[in-house]
Amino acid sequence: MAVGVREYSRIREIKGPLLVVEGVSNVAYDEIVEVELATGEKRKGRVLDVMKGIAVVQVFEGTTGITTTGTKVRFLGRPLEIPVSEDMLGRIFNGLGEPIDGGPPIIAEEERDVNGAPLNPAERAYPEDFIQTGVSAIDGMNTLVRGQKLPIFSGSGLPHNKLAAQIARQATVRGEEEEFAVVFAAIGIKYDDFIFFKKFFEETGALDRVAMFVNLADEPAMVRLVTPRAALTLAEYLAFDRDMHVLVILTDMTNYAEALREISAAREEVPGRQGYPGYLYSDLASIYERAGRVKGKKGSITQMPILTMPNDDITHPIPDLTGYITEGQIVLSRELYNKGIYPPINVLMSLSRLMKEGIGPGKTREDHADVSNQLYAAYSRGVELRSLAAVVGEESLSAVDRKYLEFADAFERRFLSQGERENRSIEQTLDLAWEILAILPEEELTNIKEEFIRKYHPKYRKKTTQ
């Protein structure tokens, strides 16, 4: 793509965020474009479709005010790139990666294509380092590991920001001093939400290891297609060229997907489910798959995308396709939230697929897997019996079944529920789990090996300490 800048001014059509430019030559697919309005204002765009003599350009900042005459379109001869440098930590950028904090310009160590390139699966290293978040529902039952992509599925008004902040503050890999560098991408979020995170990073004194890429709700929607990619481009640089462990928070991916739908509609593409383009899955994957570890490199990228499920519906295409790509999900529940439980994590719908590698002897504790399985089995039975009891009355349940109801309540009130600043160690989490499991008759603990029951069950523990 090594050609110089070429300028054209014949605009045939303006349609939504798209410009159709005529008379062009030597234009490359995905090339970056600068649009200069008659007023002198400059915008950025990208080539989406190119035929002989014609290019379709998507303008990130929108086409408002663009005229067919007097507008200059410059093709810059390269894909969209951002400079990358370690100095970007501690700085704030717009959604296209340009500094907006009034600080000095970034002295680029390198310019990188924001689209990145797919990681070679043969060069990846499987993630397996346990991250202690201090949140029992996560550490105990949906363990996060370094290099995982684990989204939070939330609903409007639910405390996903609080939870993400708590995780960012508390996340540590035990036995290592090093803290995570954080790359934060605000994708079409409200100013309030942005300020929440900004203040949070300031208060925790973390600002100098955070880079923020910010596109707010009132800023151009098309930029949202670039924001997460710009953020991940920096993250890849920090992780794989600078050996850092990077935590990437992308919020809110629902806004991203809506911007994608808008551009797809403008291009009159055949829509898939609910008007989202058929390639939404592949497009989201090109973002989410930019996480992980690679062989022979110390650094890693752990991704925590946040998305609000439209109408709390987990089958909506955005959470659905996200779940098909990420390595699990943390699902927030309005029902638990209304009961006053924080964090309101619906553990049954939540999942960490990489948990098995991150837990066990030497990593967490030998009984971890069994305890987690037992908590799931018992809590799901408790929830099921709870709805049964609502119909037939508690008295039509057997004595054992009533114990399950008691367990389910204790699980929510004691295990799930914790303070926003409460940072539980994994041992505390597991011991707490045993305490509530002890509500059930011992014969019900069919998921746990006998030796662990003897060693960790409060009943036997008391005996040995007496």
Partner: protein, 603 residues
């Protein structure tokens, strides 16, 4: 002369080239200055529509497009097993090596335009001609599929070097035992006065099924070690199956289990539009895991094809055909091959995306109208066959595809069409997955058309009462499902004692038999014998308890009498390993004895 044209348009993975007179449908072409790999999917006038298997970023109209004169093909020969390929048979480790030479810090990324050999050209293989016993002799008439010799490809796979398709004549010369590369001739066949050099490798177009003598009925079970599969919904060698389920329900874990434990000789694992880490997991793990049937490292029987979700979408479409062609090749040698594809939905989406770019008329949910016929063609490439050539060989390709229905809704086009072409349906259930009942295979919605066919094998090799026990267990589970509707209205306490026993036994079966932890060293793989003994223990308990109930003893009394034995029964699956099965019999006898005593006391 291969055609030469120029790019006229680029739109995502689709490139339109003009000046392409003489191009063939499905011809493989090289696109642009970087010579990206593409395939012609439609021709109109002098224009060819090309799906490009690499990122098209930076391509420009006017760049050259060159035909290769041949359809997209794979190389077949020794050196395939143990390799991880991309969707068009490029070894991924070699791509990394080549990139490392130019940009060491970019080694972990896949860049475009890298050209690598699918199988090593310089590696020497120890070839042993099949000239003894029932083998070939100089002067013999040979035809495609005849085994000329063998090469130890891995410690598990003896590679049969066969007369390639299309070569027929008199064997004029065959190489002595020794070390040869795939470029060295190992035989000469004379046909119509012409001499044809035969080498150890040849090419085959991926979209054309490889020929065989005839198809046979699948009668042997593919043993997987997964209890709910082998006992209730068995797969047959040469059969077809689908694993549909919403995200996180266990499709990949199920396919990994099959790849890991099944008694296939060769496994082709296609990661089609799924996660990079899932391929890495197999790559890291399989070389250290042992094949339960031979004790050799699993990688020595495995071929991986990785076109992950972030890799170019067109190659996803091709990867399925590349995989099944490799599977057929080993089938032709006489091996039982298992092909698993995760996920066929991503393949269908690739089809949809390309059809959309071609502005084809969409049918259901934007999928092209030929979705069903493409699915049918793919699953038809499974089967147990009599291979071409001599000596006589039977081989099979078993195909199991994961299906990822949007929103977990099985009525969507890919699931519903797939159901028409497969014979085993392992329906994964989101509710079971939420309560961590794994494998989350729903025993009411799932089915296998092979139960009758494999019964004989079980009766011969495991126990002649297998079918009786299996059907009885299935009946209990079905009955429990009906009872649950009543329970939801009135609770359990008011049920009849016999129904309570059904609930109790179903719970035992669910917790002690159906649930199986793929990550527990003892539980993950259950031999057919272990499966049978566990089942027998639960069903004998049920039968005996039923007699007691009929004599007026309550289920609560029974439960109380067996006490901790109940937990022991449930835990037997992960406390009793495959080589100590007498312990299951002992446990069973202890349970029955307690019931005898209870009867005596009450009687």
């Amino acid at each position: 002369m291969p055609v030469k044209g120029r790019i006229a348009r680029i739109s995502g993975p689709l490139v339109v080239a003009e000046g392409m007179e003489g191009a063939q449908m499905f011809e493989m072409v090289r696109v642009g200055e970087d010579k990206l790999i593409g395939e012609i999917t439609r021709i109109r006038g002098d224009r060819a529509f090309i799906q490009v298997y690499e990122s098209t970023t930076g391509l420009k109209p006017g760049e050259p497009v060159e035909g290769t004169g041949a359809p997209l093909s794979v190389w077949l020969g020794p050196g395939i097993i143990g390799t991880i390929y991309d969707g068009v048979q490029r070894p991924l480790p070699l791509i990394a090596e080549i990139i490392a030479k130019e940009a060491p810090n970019r080694k972990m990324f896949i860049e475009r335009g890298v050209q690598v050999d699918p199988i090593p050209r310089d590696k020497k293989w120890h070839f042993k001609p099949a000239v003894n016993g029932g083998g070939v002799h100089i002067g013999d008439k040979v035809e495609p599929g005849d085994v000329l010799g063998t090469v130890p490809e891995t410690s598990l796979i003896e590679h049969k070097v066969m007369v390639p398709p299309g070569v027929r004549g008199r064997l004029k010369w065959i190489a002595q035992e020794g070390d040869y590369t795939i470029e060295d001739p190992i035989a000469v066949v004379e046909a119509d006065g012409k001499e044809i050099e035969v080498k150890m490798a040849h090419r085959w177009p991926v979209r054309i099924p490889r020929p065989y003598k005839k198809k046979l009925e699948p009668t042997l079970p593919l043993i997987t070690g997964v209890r709910i599969i082998d006992t209730f919904f068995p797969m047959a060698k040469g059969g077809t199956g689908a694993v549909p389920g919403g995200f996180g329900t266990g499709k990949t874990v199920t396919l990994h289990s099959l790849a890991q434990w099944s008694d296939a000789r060769v496994v082709v694992y296609i990661g089609c539009g799924e996660r990079g880490n899932e391929m890495t997991e197999v790559l890291e793990r399989f070389p250290t895991y042992k094949d339960p049937w031979t004790g050799k490292p699993l990688m020595e029987r495995t071929i991986l094809i990785a076109n992950t979700s972030n890799m170019p979408v067109a190659a996803r479409e091709a990867s399925i055909y590349v995989g099944v062609t490799l599977a057929e090749y080993y089938r032709d040698m006489g091996y039982d091959v298992l092909l698993v594809a995760d996920s066929t939905s991503r393949w269908a989406e690739a089809l949809r995306e390309i059809a959309g770019r071609l502005e084809e008329m969409p049918a259901e949910e934007g999928y092209p109208s030929y979705l069903a016929s493409r699915l049918a063609e793919f699953y038809e490439r499974a089967g147990r066959v009599e291979a071409l050539g001599s000596p006589d060989r039977h081989g099979s390709v078993t195909i199991v595809g994961a299906v990822s229905p949007p929103g977990g809704d099985f009525t969507e086009p890919v699931t519903s069409h797939t159901k028409r072409f497969i014979r085993v349906f392992w329906a994964l259930d989101t509710k079971l997955a939420y309560s961590r009942h794994y494998p989350a295979i729903n025993w009411i919605l799932s089915y296998s058309a092979y139960v009758d066919l494999v019964t004989e094998w079980w009766h011969k090799n495991v126990d002649p009462r297998w079918r009786k026990y299996r059907d009885e267990a299935m009946e209990i589970l079905t009955r429990e499902n009906e009872l649950q509707d009543i329970v939801r209205l009135v609770g359990t306490e008011s049920l009849d004692e016999r129904d309570k026993l059904v609930l109790e036994t179903a719970r035992l079966l669910k917790d002690g038999f159906l649930k199986q932890n793929a990550f527990d060293p003892i539980d993950a793989f259950a031999t057919p014998q272990k499966q049978f003994k566990l089942l027998r223990m639960f069903i004998d308990f049920y039968q005996r308890a039923l007699e007691l109930v009929q004599h007026g003893i309550t289920v609560a009394q029974i439960r109380q009498a067996i006490g901790r034995l109940y937990v022991e029964m449930v835990k037997a699956k992960f406390t009793i390993p495959n080589d100590q099965l007498e312990k299951i019999d002992e446990l069973r006898e202890r349970v029955l004895k307690v019931l005898d005593e209870l009867e005596a006391r009450s009687g």
